[in-house]
């Protein structure tokens, strides 16, 4: 899964080539119009890098980014106008102010999602535009602000020099965003999208990281906004309108989410397309080129057996029709908007992974993010037997004490004054009929539900009312009855989300790849691999979690939970859907976990598993405890047989 040195070298040469081409571009065209056009693309690309963090990675919608972009532009503009601030003050200030507003924009995202969030962020953008317009004392209102090109070390930059500055900023942003997204932060962002509940239960606070994502995203929009002010040399409120915000979102969708190439491509499209549609000759050439590309792409897909004739017929015919149409038109003016709309519709409908995603699919090139492999610089290897951290012993034999826990949903008492005491280092079974309250108990213990009444003490400290991520970090890890993996992330990355708590490095460490960050990253990668080995999934490390068979997904959840270094591990039906041989392996894994001193609460319907490994069993029925004791005693308890086991037929005949 690691990239070969040859491929890495090829990428590096390509990157150097790109930088050189960018640096020489102003001389090559010798036309300030085109230089300015490319400059705008670069500036938009910086916004899109940031927007992609929110949209592509955390899966939130934002229609407020034009507003954030505007805040950046006006922060720089006002500072230059009122205080004649130099650029090295204006840029950081623009980043900081926008980031602050980003935090503000994140607040609604913590409460609402989907269309509601879109509406709220849209309102945010509109309010910003109105404020800029109305706060004449600061922003000069509709008059706008004139900003001349900045001075650097006493030298006023000319067009070309400023272009280079924007180029440098683009590369810096690219490296920054790339590093952030490949770090524990990026994994936290993706985890939010995959399963917020699971993220919280892995100690990754959904609350905190949503805000974080919006702040980083807004900071980038602010930087881009400030550069834009200098680039245009004039800013006015109506630039930062609804249309621009939709364009940004469209660029992400068209370019392809979760890819930096896609962001640059998307920026190029939204800047170039309107210009392109002004010029009929240019439009003709490009639409012909597009039709040819679409046909070749479709042919490639067909040849590789990745698509059927029926599926590619419409897009190919559509692109050819567009090319034909371009030659029948004599003027663009009337058609501009319709064609723009058609192209957009086409891309959104047929290329749902964006252009980059489509090209990758057609060429079978897997993005690095997709294969998810961490690069080959693992200096250390953790042996599987050392992967599971030993639970610390403590003076008290009792690890968990729940007293009279009451969980009421409307009139239904899902848990009715249940007591549960779990001794350190034991495997405690929790069984009972479906709907008897076992999973509710798990959710209460992990803070997903707050009990209506009763107390829960873990290691002598109350759990009630604390957040799920806080409880997780204090040593309670869990798996889920309905598997809650981060589907788009690889098995290895899933486990690394569990190892989030091992990182001390912050944003600056990540951006600069300091020794501390590199050490933590290598250690956690090695540990994650070792944990996968513990549950027998080492060979599937690079596979996306959603592609694993159900039983393996359950094992991956156990590995991820172990990454938290828990004192107490809650397993919710780990054997569900497993056949006899798989169950044997599972039992061996659970015994290994206990051998490390980790206490386990096990919900399970496979009686053979419960009876063979549990030290103590509690039986629930209709939210009440009906029996408790050693397995053999519980098994022969008439109440348990009646409510749960159903006589001897069930267990023996089916096992």
């Amino acid at each position: 899964m690691n990239r070969s040195p040859i491929a890495a070298n090829a990428w590096r040469s390509l990157a150097v080539l790109g930088v050189v081409a960018l640096a020489l571009f102003p001389f090559a065209v010798g036309n300030s119009y085109y230089t300015h056009l490319v400059e705008t693309i670069l500036i938009y690309a910086i916004v899109l890098f940031g927007l992609d963090i929110v949209v592509g990675y955390t899966g939130q919608v934002s229609l407020g980014h034009a507003g954030l972009f505007g805040i950046g532009a006006y922060t720089a503009g006002v500072l230059v106008l009122k205080l004649s601030a130099p650029i090295w003050v204006a840029l950081p200030a623009a980043i900081a102010v926008s980031a602050l507003f980003g935090a503000l924009l994140a607040l609604p995202a913590l409460r609402v999602t989907g269309p509601y969030l879109a509406m709220v962020t849209l309102a945010f953008g509109t309010i910003i535009q109105i404020l800029i317009n109305e706060m004449t004392f600061l922003t000069e209102g509709p008059m706008g602000i004139k900003v001349s090109k900045p001075e650097l070390f006493g030298h006023r930059l000319d067009e070309t020099e400023f272009f280079w500055l924007v180029g440098v900023m683009l590369i810096a942003s690219l490296v920054f965003v790339h590093r952030v997204l490949r770090s524990q932060l990026g994994r936290a962002f993706e985890a939010l999208r995959g399963s917020p509940v699971a993220a919280d239960c892995m100690g990754v606070s959904v609350y905190r990281y949503k805000v974080y994502a919006f702040v980083i995203s807004a900071g980038l929009a602010g930087l881009a906004g400030a550069l834009y002010a200098y680039s245009e040399q004039y800013i006015s409120p109506n630039t930062y309108n609804f249309e621009l915000t939709v364009m940004f979102l469209l660029a992400i969708i068209m370019g392809g989410r979760k890819t930096r190439t896609g962001a640059i491509l998307g920026a190029a499209i939204i800047v170039m397309l309107p210009k392109l549609l002004d010029d009929i000759d240019l439009f003709r050439w490009v639409s012909v080129a597009f039709a040819v590309l679409a046909t070749i792409g479709a042919a490639a897909l067909l040849a590789r057996g990745k698509s059927t004739l029926k599926n590619v017929a419409i897009p190919v015919a559509g692109s050819i029709a567009l090319a034909a149409l371009s030659f029948t038109l004599t003027t663009m003016a009337d058609w501009r908007l319709s064609i723009f709309g058609l192209i957009t519709l086409f891309v959104v409908y047929f290329l749902q992974d964006g252009i980059v995603g489509f090209v990758r699919g057609a060429l079978s090139v897997e993005g690095r993010a997709r294969t998810g492999a961490e690069p080959a610089r693992e200096v250390e290897v953790v042996a599987p037997q050392e992967a599971v951290v030993r639970a610390q012993g403590a003076a008290t034999p009792q690890l968990l004490a729940a007293d009279k826990v009451l969980m009421q949903f409307g009139g239904l008492k899902a848990l009715n004054e249940v007591d549960l005491r779990v001794k350190r280092g034991t495997i405690h079974g929790l069984i009972g009929p479906n709907g008897s309250g076992k999973s509710t108990m798990m959710n209460v213990l992990t803070g997903i539900y707050v009990p209506t009444a009763g107390s829960i003490e873990f290691e002598g400290r109350s759990v009630v009312g604390r957040s799920s991520s806080d409880i997780a970090l204090s040593g309670i890890a869990r798996t889920f009855q309905n598997v809650q993996l981060f589907g788009e992330m690889t098995a290895l990355q899933n486990v690394m989300v569990g190892l989030h708590h091992t990182y001390r490095s912050h944003l600056l460490d990540i951006a600069l790849h300091t020794a501390r960050y590199r050490r933590e990253r290598d250690q956690s990668t090695a540990r994650a691999r070792a944990l996968l080995e513990v549950v027998g999934l080492a060979e599937l490390a690079g596979e996306q979690a959603r592609n694993l068979p159900y039983g393996k997904q359950r094992l991956l959840e156990i590995a991820r939970a172990l990454a938290l270094d828990p004192q107490l591990l809650l397993l919710d039906e780990p054997a569900a859907g497993l056949t006899a041989p798989d169950i044997k392996e599972l039992i061996a894994i659970i015994q290994k976990i206990r051998a490390q001193g980790i206490t386990v609460i096990l919900i399970e319907h496979h009686m053979d598993v419960v009876m063979s490994i549990c030290d103590m069993v509690t039986v629930l029925d209709f939210g009440q405890k009906i029996a408790e004791g050693v397995p053999s005693a519980v098994q022969s308890n008439p109440k348990v047989i009646e409510a749960y086991l159903g006589g001897d037929v069930a267990v023996e005949a089916l096992a």
């Binding site: 057996g305 059927t308 079978s364 949903f409 069984i431 009972g432 009929p433 479906n434 709907g435 008897s436 999973s439 009855q481 309905n482 598997v483 596979e543 592609n547 694993l548 068979p549 159900y550 039983g551 393996k552 039906e573 569900a576 859907g577 497993l578 056949t579 006899a580 041989p581 798989d582 169950i583 044997k584 039992i587 319907h605 009686m607 053979d608 409510a643 749960y644 086991l645 159903g646 037929v649 069930a650 267990v651 005949a653 089916l654 096992a655």
Partner: protein, 239 residues
């Protein structure tokens, strides 16, 4: 009724099934046995059109259903009760069951007496009757499992695919589910069954196929497989 010939299928670049062939005759219960990742669920998904096979042929009655869309396959009379609980969480139990009969309301399937079938489904699963007005999402895991199964039956299907019907059920209910399967078999329902409890599945089935790493390793009449020492050791084993 359902015939699969040389089926290849998988996810993305990974091929899971490497050419399997099997047959489910009308009125019979056939079970598919294998360990985790052998390809049981993938087979089910390919049959019901949730993933497109890369090679091979699947026919339902006289219709070639290879690579067709799920809803079309369903209208031809194939009901799939999927692995994991895929019930319509924000709808009541009764509405979930009615949706199972959707194709009958629209006329794509013979209408028959939907109300009577609804009562029959409730009678099979008394727990669902008790909770008929409750939202499906608020049911316990085991109840959702039963609902998924009952919903599949509401289509009055030609063939039912049951993927892990006993998963997550209390032993007392596991027993119940197998009793229901046995009863459905007596009523002449054609079924393809994937089950974690391989021995119990072979008890209620007529015929069995053993899937190993995406290929059929052994197949034969259920009682014969049950006594096959190799199958016994690998899949039925007393753990």
């Amino acid at each position: 009724m359902l015939t699969i010939t040389n089926l290849h299928a998988g996810y993305g670049k990974v091929e899971v099934l490497h050419g399997i062939s099997l047959e489910v005759p009308k009125g019979r219960v056939v079970t598919l046995i294998g360990s985790n990742g052998a390809g049981k669920t993938t087979t089910m998904r390919a049959i019901s059109g949730m993933i497109a096979p890369s090679e091979g042929r699947i026919t339902l009655g006289n219709d070639d259903i290879t690579g067709r869309e799920s809803h079309r396959i369903a209208r031809l009379g194939l009901a799939h009760s999927p692995e994991g609980r895929r019930v319509f969480a924000t709808m009541s139990v009764t509405d979930n069951l009615r949706l199972g009969a959707f194709a009958r309301y629209t006329g794509a399937r013979p209408k028959g007496d939907i109300a009577a079938d609804l009562e029959r489904a409730m009678e099979y699963f008394p727990r669902l009757k008790e909770r008929r007005t409750q939202l499906a999402g608020t049911l316990s895991g085991g109840e959702q499992q039963m609902l998924a199964m009952a919903r599949a039956m509401m289509m009055n299907p030609e063939v039912v695919l049951l993927d892990e019907p006993s998963m997550g059920l209390a032993p007392i209910l596991v027993d119940e589910v197998f009793r229901i399967i046995a009863r459905l078999r007596q009523e002449g329902v054609t079924m393809l069954l994937v089950e974690q409890f391989a021995a119990a599945a072979l008890n209620v089935a007529d015929y069995g196929y053993v899937l190993e790493n995406g290929r059929i390793a052994v197949h034969g009449p259920a009682d014969k497989l049950k006594n096959d020492p190799a199958v016994k050791a690998a899949y039925l084993g007393g753990h």
